[in-house]
């Protein structure tokens, strides 16, 4: 555990990718199995401890620290695990458990006995080891090392025997502590075999298209589709069908209605939507399904899942990924016409000849129930990751409203001394009702202004939250509005950010709830 904690600390503070790669490689080369494989799993995010949750850390913190001092410390540090690691009341020594002890303990200890075990560990460890331990529990190490970087380090460790692409390809057939993988990399074992198991293949992603890029595109080389407002999925058909999210998470259990239609031996790329009677339902309805690990029959009937297909990666064991997009699309269409699978349709190809036509269609994306356009080069092979210049996403323009700042809270980390998180509202008759919170979009200068403004216009305090004079208007940009129970107004905004400070605008002229409600799909007046 000490070597692992040391690795995390060094990764965090090493600025360059090369330094991080060197640290990871050295760790994988010098630490024995199974600890090195568990470190790899931790960095790749493939360790899960169902009974060890952040709530456990909060519980321990409340048992061993003063609640107010804890709240103030958390507010300053900005990270739960680090706050507890630093303020834990013992000094700790050098008698830390090993990483495999910790992993086994977190995995196998009954939930009721876990707090006592973690408490013992925390008492025995130094702040640095405590932090590593708590990070394992909270998940997300946040040390600037990704699964991708770890795989590059593994490829380097193999000294040319294995490329990172080969590791990516078999990655989803592997499980911690990855002993066969290390044996293969070190030339001591065979290539780990998927043994016929369906494998998630890393998806190809699009780059955002900036206005300045548009002119340089040659329309003759591109195929256009709508960008659908669902989630990206990969479908693995066959005797053991699976549905994966974009990140490779197996979500089959949550979508039995999709999996039931995947008898054919194909690997498909598409968008998961919720559709009823031919109409795509709002994203909020898809969220209802995503929130459930296993849906009830009523949920499935109320929010039927659907996939809109746009690419085919494998057909009957044949890898199509090296073919041009146009050829894969033709294979997809032929297959689809022959098999006619249920619960699925094809993402239509949009005909166009000029960029201006596309621009016009993008302007109508919102009415068409789409997030914008996708532009794919007709000759592009299917390349894992986000290769430049092949696929573009051209998102629709955001919506915007003028809203009044109602409450402010200090931010975390770098912004921990600034009031930088704002709850804003719109008028419902004579009263303001909150519709969202925004933290981003402002420059440091605007942040300094807002911080100062909040301090001088506070009318009440509720713990860390300040209620402010209802006089400052912000222009809020957002991607869409939906029904929600989170706010008193019954409306929530998706991806809200502060577009501008409207110091010129009187609060009374800010938008009304009716204006916002009109922006919810299907509720236009």
């Amino acid at each position: 555990m000490i070597a692992f904690a040391d690795l995390l600390e060094r990764l965090l503070f090493s600025p360059g990718c090369n330094a991080k790669l060197a640290l990871l490689r050295r760790h994988f080369e010098t630490v024995p199995d199974p600890d090195r494989g568990l470190a790899l799993a931790a960095i790749a995010g493939s360790l899960e401890f169902p009974s060890a949750k952040p709530a456990l850390i909060r519980e321990l913190a409340s048992r061993r620290t003063d609640p107010e001092l804890f709240a103030m410390s958390y507010d300053y540090v900005g990270d739960l695990a680090e706050t507890v690691a630093l303020m834990w009341p013992t000094e700790g020594g050098e008698t830390a458990p090993s990483l495999s002890d910790v992993v086994a303990g977190l995995r196998d200890t009954p939930k009721s006995e876990l707090p006592a075990l973690v408490e013992l560990w925390l008492d025995a460890c130094t702040p640095s080891v405590r932090l590593a331990l708590l990070k394992l529990i909270t998940g997300g190490l946040r040390v600037g090392a990704t699964a991708r970087l770890a795989k590059l380090a593994l490829a380097r460790m193999s000294q040319g025997r294995v490329t990172d692409a080969e590791i990516e390809e078999i990655w989803h057939a592997l499980a911690p502590p990855y002993e066969p993988l290390f044996a293969w990399l070190e030339g001591k074992g065979p290539r780990p075999d998927a043994a016929g198991r369906p494998l998630f293949r890393p998806p190809m992603l699009a780059n955002p298209l900036e206005e300045s890029d548009v002119a340089s595109l040659d329309p003759a080389h591109y195929v256009a589709e709508w960008k659908w407002d669902g989630i990206r999925v990969q479908l693995l058909g066959g005797p053991e069908p699976r549905l994966f999210s974009r990140a490779g998470e197996d979500i089959s259990a949550a979508f039995p209605d999709i999996v039931a239609n995947l008898a054919h031996r194909v690997v498909l790329d598409g968008e998961l939507l919720v559709m009823r009677e031919g109409a795509v339902l709002p994203f909020a309805d898809l969220q209802q399904r995503l929130n459930r690990k296993a849906p009830t029959r009523a949920m499935v009937e109320r929010f039927p899942a659907h996939v809109r297909l746009y690419d085919m990666l494998f057909e009957e064991g044949e890898d199509l990924r090296a073919l041009p997009f146009a050829a894969r699309r033709a294979r997809l269409e032929t297959w689809f016409a022959r098999v006619a699978p249920g619960g699925a349709d094809l993402s239509p190809i949009i005909g166009f000849t000029t960029l201006d036509q596309l621009r016009e269609m993008r302007a109508g994306a919102r009415e068409a129930g789409s997030e914008g356009l996708m532009l794919k080069r007709a000759d592009s092979p299917y390349i894992a990751g986000r290769p430049r210049g092949l696929w573009w996403k051209w998102k629709r323009e955001p919506l915007s409203i003028d809203a009044v700042v109602m409450y402010a809270q200090r931010g975390h980390g770098r912004r921990s001394s600034f009031y930088s998180d704002f709850t804003f509202g719109v008028w419902d008759g004579e009263a303001l009702v909150p519709v969202g919170k925004a933290y981003s979009g402002i420059s440091d200068r605007e942040l300094a202004f807002l911080d100062n403004w909040v301090r001088h216009n506070t009318v009440a305090r509720f713990g860390p939250v300040r209620e402010v004079e209802k006089s400052l208007v912000l222009e809020i940009a957002f991607d869409g509005a939906q029904r929600s129970t989170r706010h008193r107004s019954g409306v929530a905004l998706r991806f809200p950010r502060i577009a501008r400070l409207r110091r010129d605008k009187p609060a009374a002229e800010a938008d009304t709830l009716a204006n916002v409600t009109r922006l919810i799909p299907g509720e236009r007046l």
């Binding site: 503070f13 600025p15 620290t65 003063d66 107010e68 001092l69 103030m72 300053y76 990270d79 630093l86």
Partner: protein, 330 residues
């Protein structure tokens, strides 16, 4: 007895002793001031008359902040001004740093300035003085701030030099106090090679040597020097800036109490954070409150909310003075 709250007040320029007619560490130029130590947020230029330790006055001269007239007193010596007895006692913060003990009308207040309790080879150790009102800083007043022993942090620096002998270790540190303490700690750990200085640190290192603090061989960083395997000290603003590029792949280190919090250390581009502070950490703030046994503690600057909360739990009345012009930098 007249409680200190009847004769110590806050004015726009800072804390003021009414019967004595003088300010304590005022942040603007005033006619009469008593100054705890030479850091620029406590020792401002432009005062008429200043009372302080000889070392603090020497620092003010070196920083072009000398007052029109000055009076030096030694630790433990008492001077009576308009019926207010002023005594200076060591604060353990930097060379010459003092707590100002004020006695008037049967009550005693102690203005501690900035202070620490850990041993420091470059200055006298803090002396707790029992009082009716203790006036404290709160720079590191959160339980997450616990400074490890400075010697252990120096050992980490030396271990890193052993690991990267081909790289220069450049340590960001404040020019007054921190730089000289680091040098003295390195000497204590057996580092007897020359230590290289950024030009901005030279004057105060020279002054420390003049005032009798041994620092060993110090050399200026020349232009175009690579200094592989050496230690360079520089102001925090220079370590991650163009100045450091001449050093050839330097390991950027910083010595400060803030280095305890990772994101804070990371934002400065620091590769090796060293948690070495000249301010009291959380346990020291609380143990000092116990040692001075004051029923009331006033907090000048920093994280006063947490400290006042914790003092309240010990039955001590805390009060935030919210003095302006204090930096919480270290």
């Amino acid at each position: 007895m007249a409680h200190p709250s009847t004769w110590l007040t806050t004015r726009p320029a800072g804390l003021y002793c009414e019967p004595g007619g003088f300010y304590l560490d005022p942040h603007g130029a005033v006619t009469k001031a008593v100054v705890t130590h030479g850091h620029s947020d406590h020792a401002r230029p432009g005062h008429g008359a200043v009372l302080a330790t000889a070392e603090t006055l020497a620092v003010m001269h070196a920083r072009n902040a000398a007052p029109a007239s000055e009076r030096a007193i030694r630790y433990g010596e008492t001077l009576v001004v308009n019926g207010v007895a002023i005594t200076l006692q060591p604060a353990g913060h930097v060379l010459g740093s003092a707590q100002i003990v004020l006695e008037h009308a049967g009550s005693r207040a102690v203005v501690s300035g900035d202070y620490k309790r850990a041993a420091d080879p470059t200055c006298a150790t803090f002396v707790p003085v029992p009082c009716d009102v203790f006036i404290t800083e709160a720079t590191f007043a959160l339980p997450v701030f616990r400074h490890p022993p400075a010697a252990a942090e120096i050992a980490r620096l030396l271990a890193s030099i052993a690991l990267f002998p081909e790289r220069t270790h450049v340590v960001g540190c404040y020019a007054l106090g921190k730089a000289q303490r680091l040098i003295a700690l390195l000497r204590g750990a057996g580092w007897d090679r020359p230590i290289y200085l950024h030009g901005a640190l030279q004057t105060l290192c020279d002054l420390y040597v003049e005032l009798g603090i041994e620092l060993g061989e110090l050399r200026p960083v020349g232009a175009g020097s690579h200094l592989a395997g050496e230690i360079v000290l520089a102001p925090p603003s220079a370590i991650a800036d163009r100045w450091a590029r001449r050093l050839g792949d330097p390991v950027i280190c910083a010595a400060s109490g803030w280095m305890r919090v990772r994101q804070r250390a990371k934002q400065g581009g620091v590769e090796l954070p060293l948690v070495i502070s000249d301010h009291a950490d959380w346990p020291e703030l609380l143990s000092t409150a116990d040692d001075v046994a004051a029923p009331e503690i006033w907090v000048t600057h920093g994280r006063e909310d947490a400290l006042i909360h914790a003092l309240g739990q010990r039955g001590i009345r805390g009060r935030a003075l919210r003095l302006v012009g204090r930096e919480v930098e270290e």
